[in-house]
């Protein structure tokens, strides 16, 4: 594994007409980090994340994700990363196993790889007995854990999680975070957005976006010291209150 940052972007911007959704953001994410990408609703997080995932091309700037150019190699980036969207990304009217097979096919896994990873996923989630259950009938927390595992099927070097724990209860949220810790222990890099500020504390480093710009970036303990507050919640509020953009 190389020591180059897995994500490295400089002055990345995205404009929609006159509107600057993302305004010259620059940062590096080291391999094996849990990078928390925070910001208020409408700050530009999802737009930025879509550029990093190869789903949309930046208007200007430069950078790489998993070794590929964000300005022109979106298709290659897509194959190398995992992505779990804010909205649930599995098919409700397929079973657990059918969803795994579908995504394994999309990521180009062989049948043998698919079967081996399916067993691993079902065992780790203790889902064996649910393999033939329609995903639509699963509780939200289970769906989220399955969606995470499916995003990891092709063993990507970096996985992007867009509000994976929104609306999830405190116990299931913690179970989800243990999946994240396990993935990181196996060498995966995690890039995550969340509105739960206790989860910001679980990150190696966090950035906070306001009005399309990154206004703070660092280790949670350092940010709290810098803002002279006790919690990440207070750091976030201090910055987000100054937002000019009305969502």
């Amino acid at each position: 594994m190389s020591n180059d940052p897995i994500i490295s972007v400089r002055e990345l911007s995205k404009c929609f007409g006159d509107f600057i959704a993302v305004d010259r953001i620059s940062f590096d994410v080291a391999r094996g980090e849990i990078f928390g990408f925070l910001g208020a609703n409408g700050a530009g997080k999802t737009t930025a994340m879509r550029m990093l995932c190869g789903l949309s091309y930046p208007s200007s700037g430069s950078g790489t994700v998993a070794g590929f150019d964000v300005m022109r190699e979106g298709e290659r980036i897509k194959r190398r990363i995992g992505y779990m969207s804010q909205r649930f990304s599995l098919y409700d009217d397929l079973t657990v196993m059918e969803n795994i097979r579908l995504y394994a096919g999309i990521y180009g896994l062989t049948r043998r790889q698919m079967l081996r990873r399916a067993v691993t996923v079902l065992d780790r989630l203790q889902f064996r007995s649910e393999a033939d259950t329609l995903v639509g009938g699963l509780p939200l927390g289970w769906k989220q854990k399955l969606a995470f595992s499916v995003a990891m099927l092709h063993q990507p070097e970096v996985v992007f999680l867009d509000e994976p724990t929104g609306g999830v209860d405190p116990v299931t949220r913690r179970q989800f975070w243990e999946l994240i810790y396990e993935a990181v222990a196996d060498g995966t890099t995690v890039f995550i957005t969340t509105h739960y500020m206790d989860e910001a504390e679980y990150c190696s480093r966090v950035s906070i976006m306001v009005d399309g710009q990154i206004r703070a970036l660092g280790v949670p303990a350092d940010l709290k010291r810098q803002f002279a507050v006790q919690t990440m919640d207070e750091v976030f509020r201090t910055l987000a209150r100054g937002a000019k953009r009305s969502e």
């Binding site: 929104g166 609306g167 209860d169 299931t172 975070w177 810790y181 990181v184 222990a185 509105h195 509020r237």
Partner: protein
């Protein structure tokens, strides 16, 4: 039934085939009370909201809203309650003001009748009144949905996870709005996955698998936590978590923001734990006693289920 209660629920049961979504639930919401409902997905919260707003029928038990029976008097109840469902339920192709006019017409009122009630909220989205609701941001949709649920001046307001997916600052503003509505005498039943919001309620019910685990004031719920609780910190937090769980005397250990929370058994010796962990090679380990919060109680009760 009791006229002095906003909501009375007695042994309420609802089944979907083999699944019992609501299993003999009983509780009351007082007039003017801000009552919180917390529990995991599948606890029966949305089913409860749908029963109390008379959208579905119960299989057993009874309930009254604003003094009226949910089965017999459903027409009367529908005029008196406001409901903000978990999913965005406005018409995306209608503009902000068209949505509001539509909901006012449904209830046979005009917007001006109750404008002063919604004014503090509506003023924030008024600059966008000609924008289609589907094109609004999450926070603005939520404010419009609240206006539409309030336009007929309901006596009881039902809010199903109104702040899910909303950032910390907007959540705070939303709860300030609920506080103002409470001051206007509106009774509210609100579900939330955020434990910090539960502490802003007058009383809270914890539920799981269709049953109530307990109902109390936030302080009352916290006082039911009856085990020694500690905050554990050190380097390599994930390793610390896994190893601490295996230690004798440790009932539970879970991540809690910048530290881990550790529930000890009776007579638990924190100094001994630190010694053990340091012998195993963990650096900078510290353990200190902390006061529990609602989140700790929720985790404890859920793990006993």
């Amino acid at each position: 039934m009791e006229m002095n209660e906003a909501v009375v629920v007695e042994g309420l049961t609802k089944r979907y085939g083999a699944l019992t979504a609501l299993d003999g639930m009983s509780f009351c919401v007082g007039r003017g009370e801000l009552f919180g409902l917390i529990g995991p997905d599948g606890a029966g919260k949305t089913t409860l909201f749908r029963l109390l707003t008379t959208l579905i029928d119960a299989d057993g038990g009874r309930a009254a809203v604003d003094g009226f029976d949910i089965r017999k008097d459903y027409r009367l109840i529908r005029k008196r309650v406001g409901y903000m469902p978990g999913r965005f339920s406005l018409y995306p192709d209608l503009s902000v003001e068209e949505n509001l006019a539509f909901f006012a017409a449904l209830f046979g009122v005009s917007i001006s009748d109750n404008y002063e009630l919604i004014a503090p909220i509506y003023r924030q989205i008024e600059p966008f009144r000609t924008r289609r609701a589907g094109k609004l941001s999450g926070g603005m949709k939520q404010k419009l949905a609240l206006c539409c649920a309030l336009i007929h001046r309901p006596s009881v307001l039902f809010l199903d996870e109104p702040t899910t997916g909303v950032d910390a600052v907007s959540r705070g503003e939303f709860w300030e709005m609920l506080g103002q509505l409470k001051n206007r005498g509106i009774s509210m039943l609100v579900s939330t996955p955020y434990m910090d919001e539960a502490t802003r309620c007058d009383r809270v019910a914890l539920c799981n698998e269709g049953r109530l685990l307990g109902v109390d004031t936030p302080q009352g719920i916290v006082s039911r936590f009856d085990a020694p609780l500690y905050a554990l910190e050190g380097e390599n937090m994930y390793g610390l978590l896994l190893e601490t769980r295996k230690m004798p005397g440790v009932v539970a250990c879970y991540p809690f923001g910048e530290s881990h929370h550790l529930v000890g058994c009776e007579g638990f010796d924190p100094h001994r734990l630190v010694g053990e962990l340091e012998r195993m090679g963990f650096c900078g380990v510290s353990v200190r006693a902390v006061e529990p919060g609602i989140e700790d109680v929720f985790i404890k009760w859920m793990s006993h289920e």
